[in-house]
């Protein structure tokens, strides 16, 4: 039916094809992936420590902490809630750490380096007599929140949310005073403590 078919020798063609198929197989091969290399999750924050130091009484140091060593997923994070003295003034220092890698990565210094892109907020829940004031400033004179001071009122308890915002609009209304409402940006950290004042 196909005259030109006669021009080719069937067996030659089969040989040619086999060679081609073999070549392609060699090309396609059976290559392997490489073994992975260890990765430090440089941005992961596993630990938030808030240190309260009583300005009148150097021995009154309270550490509130939230720790989730295995990062998102796995086990729940654990919270250590603070108990503060009523009607006192505390110096408040915040530290962010990645304790999943060895050695521990200090994220606080990264936040300090890019102070203009970060701000820590302290959201005070109902029932808690707690007022926070920023003590630190970035290069533009806007608050950061790694260091501040807090005054406690009468006894009581309530929630205190510590929030680290990346890329906030620090000049928006209320943001410099510590109101997160208009801050925008991304929340890199949001941990909730229950504070007791007695």
């Amino acid at each position: 039916m196909f005259n030109n078919k006669l021009k080719y020798s069937g067996s030659l063609r089969v040989k040619g094809l086999l060679t081609l198929v073999l070549t392609v197989f060699i090309l396609a091969g059976c290559s392997n992936s490489s073994d992975p290399e260890p990765v430090n999750d440089t941005e992961l924050i596993t630990t938030v420590n808030v240190t309260f130091t009583n300005t009148q009484d150097g021995s009154d140091v309270v550490i509130a902490s939230f720790q989730d060593i295995d990062g998102p997923g796995g086990n729940d994070g654990t919270t250590i809630n603070p108990t503060l003295t009523a009607n006192s003034t505390y110096r408040v220092e915040v530290a962010f750490l990645n304790e999943s890698s060895t050695p521990t990565i200090d994220i606080t210094s990264e936040v300090a380096t890019e102070a203009d892109e970060h701000q820590v907020f302290f959201e005070v829940g109902a029932g808690l007599n707690f007022t926070y004031t920023y003590s630190d400033q970035d290069l533009l004179g806007l608050p950061i929140g790694l260091v501040g001071s807090a005054t406690t009122g009468n006894a009581g308890n309530g929630s205190l949310n510590v929030v680290l915002v990346h890329m906030p609009s620090k000049t928006a209304t209320g943001v410099q005073q510590g109101d997160i409402t208009n801050a925008g940006g991304d929340e890199d950290v949001r941990v909730i403590f229950t504070v007791t004042i007695q």
């Binding site: 039916m1 196909f2 392609v24 197989f25 396609a28 990765v39 949001r190």
Partner: protein, 794 residues
């Protein structure tokens, strides 16, 4: 150019004046059926002499005889799958006639199949729906997914306006297969926000095989198979080409795409093509606001050269796809409180002025393909085809990161895939037509480890071996088809376990699939196909090993090493009827999937970013039942009423609940008016249509992020009693949008045509959200968009 090549329809050669006969209905019509293109005989074509109500089927050599015909003038109808129906008037006047019928390959459909033979022996008992030439022209400049969604049964799963994945009968990602130019598209298709890395401008044919064609194509074809084919390479000398210019109002998109092609003088059968596309779009706009950071840039090119003649041919093809896609800024959230603020807002928190700039989050993707194809006629055996493909897929995803890390992606994957397909289209024996093939694929996935982020999926390599045999028993009025396939897939994973110890777990999956189908040619205008087929897929690496917070979904997703293969039985039936002024294409399907892999909520975990639900990949049984209906009625000359309906009911049988991300039922109805033609004005049309999409009433339950937080703070185990999946927001309301388009072609001279198309989508600038858009939580769909599409063909 192509049109000219295939314009030759039929030669009635050698009307053989045999012995004169008396007219007592003893005349004989005989002949041979060939392909107009390759000149090869077409076995088993069906022939019908309409007025005489006589029919015949050609033999394996393409020969046919119809006997006992009275003298007269008859209409002869010749049909064969993959070729255009052919009608010719035959005059039998006192003598027998021996004719040669040349069938024209279906240009927009199976040209690759029938002419280059890449997919001969495709599953005949499965219906193939394709985008018409007009639909294809109207969708130029859109994403591949959105173009495909014009086929009934295909929806899109979107991630904002620029990322669209096709969904076939409710299934997507690794549950469907895309064959790009005959090669299985292998990118990181597991990701819901990973669109196919294909330049839609390359394709002149987009079609869908609606059934489980796994028996032919191997694993993953559980939902269906999408075919994306470029036109054939030219075989005749001469230069041709096409150029497209497109502009769109909504996102300031402009695109140019074109190709040049030609044959080589003196070497018939040698042809080449060079093609390229540039596309740039800025932030899209919803009805009432900008969708900030939804720009896109694409730069693609491809080149092919091939030599084909009767009985032998070879082709080589290279394509490069480069794209950078912005992801809606407001859809990136870090803490559960950020999610609470963002989800369900009437408008996003971050809205900026229009810009072409693409900031983070974004995806940067490169996909390269090298294809080698060789085919040869083997004496007495059949046609052997060797198809080799090499794909290199590079994907980088950029997130909002601190400091110096801002310029580093947070995910960078390179996937290298080699594939080799051998296919033997066996010469017909009697009424049996068969096809056998072997498949090999090797895949290597590598991460970058200097990004400061633990990779979402590990390094791995895998190989797959498969073999298939499909056979068809062909009769005049019906065909019976049977196929069998076996595949073996091996994975080797390389990762650190939770104690930072390097592990290299291995997985093997063995699966046998089969398919049984019938084609009934009810009359010359109607055929009915029914097919029951099994399909399978191995769990993907992300399902086995992913681990981390999903920034788009407020969820932590954990892999599961104990997953088994997912397998499906899909039954699909299709009735197709075309007659003067009326066409109907109806499909019904029922798909039962055992070991359906899904994300099951297991727990809520407290992190430094708040409380998040943990989802773990688990298996259940699922059923998907639905129908697609295409109905077109001619109301008056040139005016058609066109309707498309899709209905789908999906169920998680294991948990007796709904499945997530299943397209809602929809109907598109509209009017097409074809304008009168003249020598100076061709293919003029005006069309107007309305798309109505119901609310997904069969959506999973809703648990908001506030509720997750609350439940966690109360310490109760919310998923202990009910482990069915949930959504963080109710399914959006039903909606309707109106679209219109108009166009025409102006022949500038004998070989040059200018085509103009104007489309207006969402004419009323309605604001609405679609359940199948993953950004339905954050923002509305795009508002009104007007586009102008110019096409110069020469």
């Amino acid at each position: 150019m192509l049109k000219k090549v295939v314009a030759v329809l039929l030669f009635v050669v050698a009307p053989n004046l045999a012995l004169a006969q008396s007219d007592d209905c003893e005349l004989k019509l005989s002949g041979v059926v060939r392909s107009s293109d390759s000149q090869k005989a077409i076995p088993f074509a069906t022939l019908q002499l309409i007025e005489e109500k006589k029919s015949a089927v050609a033999d394996s050599q393409g020969r046919f005889v119809i006997e006992q015909i009275c003298s007269g003038t008859f209409e002869l109808l010749v049909k064969f799958i993959g070729y255009k129906d052919y009608r010719v008037s035959v005059v039998l006047d006192q003598s027998d006639l021996d004719i040669e019928v040349k069938l024209d390959p279906t240009v927009t459909n199976l040209e690759a199949v029938t002419v280059e033979g890449e997919r001969i022996g495709e599953v005949a008992s499965l219906n193939t729906s394709e985008l018409s030439q007009t639909e294809l022209e109207q969708s130029r400049g859109e994403t591949l997914g959105s173009a495909l969604s014009k086929i009934s049964g295909v929806n899109v799963l979107q991630t904002g306006p620029t990322i669209a994945k096709p969904v076939v009968h409710g299934l997507h990602s690794n549950r469907i297969l895309i064959l790009n130019n005959g090669i299985r598209q292998e990118g990181q298709q597991w990701g819901q926000e990973h669109a196919p890395e294909i330049d839609p401008f390359v394709a002149t044919n987009l079609s869908l095989i609606k059934g489980a064609a796994a028996v032919k194509y191997g694993s993953d074809a559980i939902g269906g198979v999408i075919l994306v084919n470029p036109p054939q390479l030219p075989k005749e000398p001469g230069l041709g080409g096409q150029f497209n210019l497109i502009g769109a109002s909504n996102n300031g998109m402009y695109a140019g795409s074109g190709y040049l092609e030609g044959g080589v003088k003196g070497i018939r059968g040698l042809g080449w093509r060079l093609q390229g596309t540039y596309k740039k779009g800025g932030d899209a706009r919803a009805a009432n606001y900008r969708l900030t950071n939804t720009g896109v840039i694409e730069e693609n090119f491809s080149a092919g050269v091939g030599y084909h003649k009767t009985g032998i041919g070879a082709e080589i093809y290279y394509s490069n796809f480069d794209s950078e896609v912005g992801i809606l800024r407001a859809a990136h959230n870090s803490s559960s409180s950020d999610f609470q603020d963002a989800v369900g807002r009437s408008e996003p928190a971050i809205i900026e002025d229009f810009s072409y700039e693409i900031g983070v989050p974004k995806q940067v993707i490169n996909h390269q393909l090298i294809k080698g194809f060789f085919h040869a006629e083997l004496k007495r055996l059949g046609e052997l085809k060797v198809l080799y493909g090499y794909q290199k897929n590079q994907r980088e995803e950029f997130d909002i990161r601190r400091g110096d890390l801002a310029n580093l992606p947070s995910l960078a994957l390179t996937l290298n895939t080699h594939s080799l397909d051998l296919d033997l289209d066996i010469n017909a024996r009697g009424n049996w037509k068969s096809d056998a093939g072997l498949t090999y694929m090797n895949q290597v996935n590598d991460n970058r480890f200097d990004l400061g982020v633990t990779p979402l999926i590990p390094n791995y390599d895998n190989y797959t071996f498969g073999g298939h045999f499909i056979t068809r028993f062909v009769q005049t009025k019906y065909e019976l088809e049977f196929g069998l396939r076996h595949d073996f897939k091996h994975y080797q994973i390389r990762k650190f376990d939770e104690n930072d110890v390097l592990i290299r777990p291995e997985f093997d999956f063995n699966n046998t699939t089969g398919s049984l189908g019938f084609v009934f040619l009810l009359d010359e205008q109607t055929d009915f196909r029914t097919n029951i087929g099994t399909a399978w897929r191995a769990p993907n690496v992300n399902e086995l090993f992913s681990d981390g917070l999903h920034h788009g979904a407020a969820a932590i997703e954990e892999g599961n090493e104990d997953l088994e293969s997912e397998s499906s039985i899909k039954w699909v039936s299709n009735l197709e009827h075309t007659s003067e002024g009326f066409s109907l294409d109806a499909s019904v399907y029922y798909n039962v999937i055992t070991n359906y892999i899904y994300l099951r909520p297991e727990d809520i975990t407290l992190t430094t970013r708040g409380a998040f639900p943990i989802f773990r990949y688990t298996q259940t049984d699922a059923t998907l039942f639905g129908f697609d209906l295409d109905l077109s009625l001619q109301l008056s000359k040139g005016l058609h009423w066109v309707n498309k309906v899709s209905f789908l009911q999906a169920r998680d049988k294991g948990n007796d609940s709904a499945l997530i991300n299943i397209p809602a039922n929809r109907i598109r109805t509209g009017f097409d008016l074809k304008l009168p033609e003249s020598d100076k004005f061709k293919d003029g049309f005006v069309s107007f249509s309305a798309l109505g999409v119901n609310k997904q009433r069969n959506a999973p339950r809703t648990i908001t992020i506030q509720q997750i937080e609350l439940v966690k703070s109360l310490g109760s185990d919310v998923f202990a009693l009910n482990g069915t999946t949930f959504d963080i927001l109710d399914a959006p309301a039903a909606y309707m949008v109106l679209d219109a388009s108009a166009g025409f072609k102006l022949p500038l001279n004998t070989s040059t045509t200018l085509g103009v198309i104007i489309t207006v989508d969402n004419i009323l600038n309605s604001s609405y959200r679609d359940y199948m858009n993953r950004f339905r939580y954050y923002a509305d769909e795009t508002g009104r968009n007007m586009s102008l599409k110019l096409n110069l063909e020469f």
